[in-house]
C-alpha cells in the first residue's frame, strides 16, 4: 500500500513536470494562436484584443497555474481553433486512439510470445531461421510505409476495409475489428519482430542457466522445463521491453492515424500544434504522459508478482 502511494506521488510529479515543459515549449517556439487564427493580414489591434481575450498577455507562470487549477477542477478550457470545449474535442477522439493502441498491443502479445518461444525452442532449425528472416525484414519497415502499403493493397485494391472509417465497438464489433485491424497491424508488425527477437534471446540465455541443468538432473521433461522454469525467468526482461514498446505505440499511433485517416488524437494533436492551440495540446500530451507513467506503474506491479527478488 505504501508502495502504491509512493508510485502515485511519482505519477503526479511526472505529470506536473511534463505539462510545465509543454507550456514552456510553447513560449519558446515562435508564433501564437491569436496570429494563427486571425491570419497575417489582421490589424495589430484585433490581434491584441484576441490576445487579451484568450489571456495570452498574462505572465507565463500565472497562466500555467491558472490552467493547472482549472484542469484539476475538470475544466480543460476551450480550443482556440475550433472554439469548442477541449473536453468534448478530446473526448470524441480519445476512444479511437485508445482502441487502436490496445488492439495493436493485443496483437503484439498474442503473436510474439508464442513465436519467441517457438524460435528459441527450434534454435538453428528451419522454422527459427525462417521466422528470424521474416522478423528481420519487418523490423526494417517503418510503420507509416507499412500503413501505406496496407491501405493500398487491402483498402483500395482488395477493398476489405474503407480507409478513414471508424465504427464504435459498442455499435458493431465486427465492423470495428474490420476497420481497426489493419492500422493495428501496421503499428504491430515491426514491434512483433522486436519482441520475438528479444524474447528468443532471453529464453536462450535462460536455457543456459544452471537451474535448467538442475531441472534436467531431476528428470524433468524438456517442455515442462521450458514452460515451468524458463519462461517466467525469461519474461522478466521482456516485460520491461514491452512497456517501452507500449510507450512507443502511443507515439506511433499518431502517424498511423494520419496514414489511415482515422479520427483519433493523433490528427487532432498535429493540427493543434500547427495552430498553436495549446489548451488541446496540453491535454493530449498530459494524456500520453499519463499512459506511459501508468504502464510503467503496471510493469512495476507485475515485477513484484513475477520476480521475488524485487519484492518490497
Amino acid at each position: 500500500m505504501k508502495y502504491i502511494m509512493k508510485r502515485i506521488y511519482t505519477l503526479v510529479i511526472t505529470l506536473f513536470m511534463v505539462s510545465f515543459l509543454t507550456f514552456i515549449a510553447f513560449q519558446v517556439i515562435p508564433g501564437d494562436s491569436a496570429v494563427t487564427s486571425l491570419g497575417t493580414n489582421a490589424t495589430e489591434e484585433a490581434i491584441d484584443a484576441l490576445r487579451e481575450e484568450l489571456g495570452l498577455n498574462e505572465n507565463v507562470l500565472v497562466r500555467f497555474f491558472t490552467w493547472i487549477g482549472n484542469t484539476l477542477q475538470g475544466d480543460f478550457g476551450k480550443s482556440f481553433q475550433y472554439e469548442l470545449p477541449v473536453k468534448s474535442l478530446v473526448g470524441d477522439r480519445m476512444p479511437v486512439t485508445l482502441w487502436l493502441s490496445l488492439l495493436s498491443i493485443i496483437i503484439i502479445l498474442i503473436v510474439s510470445i508464442p513465436l519467441g518461444i517457438l524460435t528459441a525452442k527450434k534454435e538453428g532449425g528451419f522454422i527459427d531461421r525462417l521466422i528470424t528472416l521474416i522478423t528481420n525484414t519487418s523490423m526494417a519497415i517503418p510503420p507509416f510505409f507499412l500503413g501505406m502499403i496496407i491501405t493500398l493493397v487491402f483498402g483500395f485494391v482488395l477493398k476489405w476495409f474503407i480507409p478513414g472509417r471508424y465504427v464504435n465497438p459498442s455499435d458493431n464489433f465486427g465492423q470495428f475489428i474490420r476497420f481497426m485491424i489493419f492500422p493495428a497491424l501496421a503499428i504491430g508488425i515491426p514491434k512483433i519482430a522486436m519482441v520475438v527477437k528479444f524474447l528468443r534471446s532471453s529464453v536462450l540465455r535462460q536455457l543456459k542457466q544452471d537451474y535448467v541443468r538442475t531441472a534436467r538432473s531431476k528428470g524433468q521433461k524438456e517442455n515442462t522445463i521450458l514452460y515451468r522454469h524458463v519462461l517466467k525467468n525469461a519474461l522478466i526482461p521482456v516485460i520491461t521491453f514491452i512497456a517501452m514498446v507500449i510507450a512507443d505505440i502511443m507515439a506511433g499511433s499518431i502517424i498511423i492515424e494520419q496514414v489511415f485517416g482515422l479520427p483519433g488524437l493523433g490528427r487532432l494533436l498535429v493540427t493543434s500544434i500547427s495552430n498553436r492551440d495549446y489548451p488541446v495540446v496540453q491535454i493530449i500530451i498530459l494524456y500520453i504522459a499519463a499512459v506511459v507513467v501508468i504502464v510503467n506503474f503496471i510493469v512495476d506491479i507485475l515485477y513484484q508478482y513475477i520476480d521475488p527478488r524485487v519484492r518490497v
Binding site: 538442475t214 538432473s217 531431476k218 528428470g219
Partner: protein
C-alpha cells in the same frame, strides 16, 4: 557372478567423451574405466580441465549439445545408461541417480519457492501422493538437511538463503526420492570454509543413513580425504591413479598425484611436512629481520599504518528524494605493516577484507580514520585478472600502459622494462605478444602481478589472487610472490578466505569477522594458540 560383482552399482568402461568442433575431435575424457560399489563414497580429484565434471555429466546424461559420448559404456545396475531411450533415462534421473552442483547460488530457480522446487521431484517420481503428503515429505527432507523445522524455508525463495543453506536445499532435493547414487560435483567449492565441513558431514550422514553411493568430485584433496574411502586421480581426461584414499596419501605412485599432494596446504600434511614448512618460514623471518634492520637505519619502519578506519557504503534506494542511508562495512580497523612483511587478512566473504584493501589503494572515498603510506601509490592485484585487465589488448601493451601514464620513459626504456618484468614474472617474450584469452589462468595472474610490479610501488595489495586457480598453479604463484619479494623488496597485503594459502605465505595475519579485525597475530602463534572464538572456528574448519 561373483559376490563382489553383485555389489557393484555403477560400472564405467572405456568411457570417452569429447567435443566435436568443425570435424575436429577434442577428447576431454579419454577411455576411462572405474566402478562404484553400493553405498560407497568415491572421490574423483583433479584440476579444472581434467575431465572430472565431464565424467559426471556423462553419467548423468547432462552433457551440453556440443559434447558427445564417443565410446564406452556406463552400466548402472546392469543397465547400460547410454543405450536407454531418453524417456527411460529421464525416469532414472532424480529418482535413482541425482546430482548436486558446484554453484548453489545459481542452481536453483530464482523465481520459484524452495518448497515447490523440492516437491517437483515428488511430482515427477512418486505419483499418487496427495498435496498434503508431498508437503509433509518436503518438510521432512528439509529437516533432515538440518534446515530448522523446514516450515520457514519451505516458502522462501533461493535469494533469501545463504550459499550453505542453498546447498542444503539442493541436497534435500537430491535425496528426497532416496536415490541409489548421488553425484556431488564440487559441492563445497563455492562455500565459505566454515560451512564446507558441515556440508560434507551432511553428505556423509545421508550416505550412512540411506546407503546412497556417492561420487564426490573435487579439486581439493582435503575434501576428498575427509569423507571418501576410495579415490581416482584424473589428469587430462585420464585416470592416472586410483586406490583407497589412505593408500593414495601415504604412498602416491603417480608423479601427478605426488605433485597434487605436495601442493596441498600444509596444515593437512603430516608432522614431518609441517616441520619442513616451518623451517622454510624461519628462513623467511631472517630476511625480514635483515630488511627491518636496513629500514630502521633510514628511520622508516612501517610501510603502512591504518588507524581507526571506518568505511561506509551508500545504500541504493529507489526513491530519489529519500535520505541516502549509509551502511558501515568496516568498523574501527587498525593495523600496521612493517617494510618487507607479508600481512594476511583472512575472513569469510562479506567480512570487509576486500573493503579494507580497496580503501588502502584509494578506491573507496567514503571513509574516515587515517591511512598512512610510506611508499608511492600501492598497487592492487585482483582475483580475476581476466575481468580486471583489458582483454582486447596484448600483454606487452597492458604492461606498458602504466609506464606511459607515469611518463618520463623513452620508448626504448619502456620496452626494456616490459621485457625485464616479463622475465621476472616467469613468462617468455612470446607471451608478451599474446592476448589474455590466449593465456592460462596462472599466466594471467602473473601478468596482473607484473602490472602491479612495473609501477615501482613497494606495497602490493593482493585480493584473493590465487582463489580462482588450481592448487598446483596456486603454489607456483605463491612461489613467484616469494621470489619477487626478495628481488624487489616488496611488502604484500595478502587477502584470502583460505587459511591454508595464508599459512603458506604470510608472516602475520589479521582475522576479520563482520567488519571488525578480531585478532592480529604472528602466523605461528595464530595456528598454535588462537585467541578469538571465531579464529578457533576458522581453524577447526580447515583441519
Amino acid at each position: 557372478m561373483t559376490h563382489s560383482e553383485r555389489k557393484v552399482l555403477l560400472k564405467v568402461e572405456h568411457l570417452t567423451t569429447g567435443f566435436v568442433n568443425k570435424g575436429e575431435l577434442a577428447k576431454v575424457v579419454d577411455d576411462i574405466s572405474f566402478y562404484l560399489e553400493k553405498g560407497e563414497i568415491l572421490g574423483i580429484v583433479g584440476e579444472s580441465g581434467s575431465g572430472k565434471t565431464m565424467t559426471a555429466l556423462s553419467i548423468m546424461g547432462l552433457l551440453s549439445k556440443e559434447a558427445r559420448i564417443l565410446g564406452g559404456s556406463i552400466a548402472f545396475e546392469d543397465r547400460d545408461l547410454l543405450k536407454l531411450s531418453g524417456e527411460e533415462f529421464r525416469k532414472l534421473k532424480g529418482n535413482q541417480i541425482s546430482m548436486i552442483f558446484q554453484e548453489p547460488m545459481t542452481s536453483l530457480n530464482p523465481v520459484m519457492t524452495v518448497g515447490r522446487q523440492i516437491e517437483e521431484m515428488l511430482l515427477l517420481h512418486e505419483k499418487g501422493l496427495s498435496e498434503k503428503e508431498r508437503k509433509e515429505r518436503t518438510m521432512e527432507a528439509l529437516r533432515e538437511a538440518e534446515l530448522g523445522n523446514g516450515e520457514t524455508i519451505y516458502t522462501k525463495y533461493p535469494h533469501q538463503l545463504s550459499g550453505g543453506m542453498r546447498q542444503r536445499v539442493m541436497i534435500a532435493m537430491a535425496m528426497i526420492c532416496r536415490p541409489k547414487l548421488l553425484i556431488a560435483d564440487e559441492p563445497t567449492t563455492a562455500l565459505d570454509v566454515t560451512i564446507q565441513g558441515t556440508i560434507l558431514n551432511l553428505i556423509q550422514s545421508m550416505n550412512q543413513k540411506y546407503g546412497t553411493a556417492v561420487i564426490l568430485i573435487s579439486h581439493d584433496l582435503s575434501v576428498i580425504k575427509k569423507i571418501c574411502a576410495r579415490a581416482l586421480v584424473m589428469q587430462d581426461g585420464v585416470i592416472v591413479e586410483q586406490g583407497t584414499t589412505h593408500e593414495l596419501f601415504l604412498n602416491p605412485r603417480n608423479d601427478y598425484t605426488k605433485k597434487l599432494i605436495a601442493a596441498m596446504p600444509s596444515v593437512l600434511l603430516d608432522q614431518r611436512e609441517i616441520t619442513k614448512e616451518v623451517e622454510k618460514k624461519v628462513e623467511r623471518t631472517d630476511d625480514i629481520e635483515k630488511i627491518e634492520a636496513i629500514t630502521k637505519n633510514i628511520g622508516i619502519d612501517n610501510i603502512l599504518e591504518v588507524n581507526h578506519l571506518n568505511v561506509y557504503y551508500e545504500e541504493v534506494t529507489q526513491n530519489i528524494l529519500a535520505k541516502r542511508r549509509k551502511k558501515q562495512v568496516v568498523y574501527d580497523a587498525t593495523l600496521h605493516m612493517r617494510r618487507g612483511e607479508i600481512l594476511g587478512i583472512v575472513g569469510e566473504s562479506g567480512s570487509g577484507k576486500s573493503t579494507i584493501a580497496k580503501s588502502i589503494v584509494g578506491l573507496i572515498p567514503d571513509r574516515d580514520g587515517a591511512i598512512v603510506l610510506n611508499t608511492v601509490k600501492p598497487q592492487m592485484v585482483f582475483q580475476d585478472p581476466y575481468g580486471s585487465l583489458n582483454p582486447v589488448k596484448r600483454v606487452d601493451w597492458i604492461l606498458e600502459e602504466p609506464l606511459k601514464l607515469a611518463g618520463g620513459y623513452s620508448k626504448k626504456e619502456r620496452k626494456e622494462k616490459v621485457a625485464k618484468i616479463l622475465k621476472d614474472i616467469g613468462l617468455q617474450e612470446k607471451h608478451g605478444r599474446r592476448f589474455l584469452s590466449q593465456l592460462s589462468g596462472g599466466q594471467r595472474q602473473r601478468v596482473a602481478i607484473g602490472v602491479a610490479l612495473i609501477q615501482n610501488s613497494k606495497l602490493i595489495v593482493l585480493d584473493e589472487p590465487v582463489s580462482a586457480l588450481d592448487v598446483t598453479v596456486q603454489s607456483q604463484i605463491l612461489e613467484l610472490l616469494r621470489s619477487l619479494r626478495k628481488e624487489y623488496d616488496l611488502s604484500y597485503l595478502f587477502i584470502s578466505h583460505d587459511l591454508n594459502v595464508i599459512y603458506l605465505l604470510c608472516d602475520r595475519v589479521c582475522v576479520m569477522h563482520q567488519g571488525r579485525i578480531v585478532e592480529t597475530a604472528d602466523m605461528r602463534e595464530l595456528f598454535h594458540s588462537p585467541k578469538h572464538p571465531y579464529t578457533k572456528k576458522l581453524l577447526e574448519a580447515v583441519i
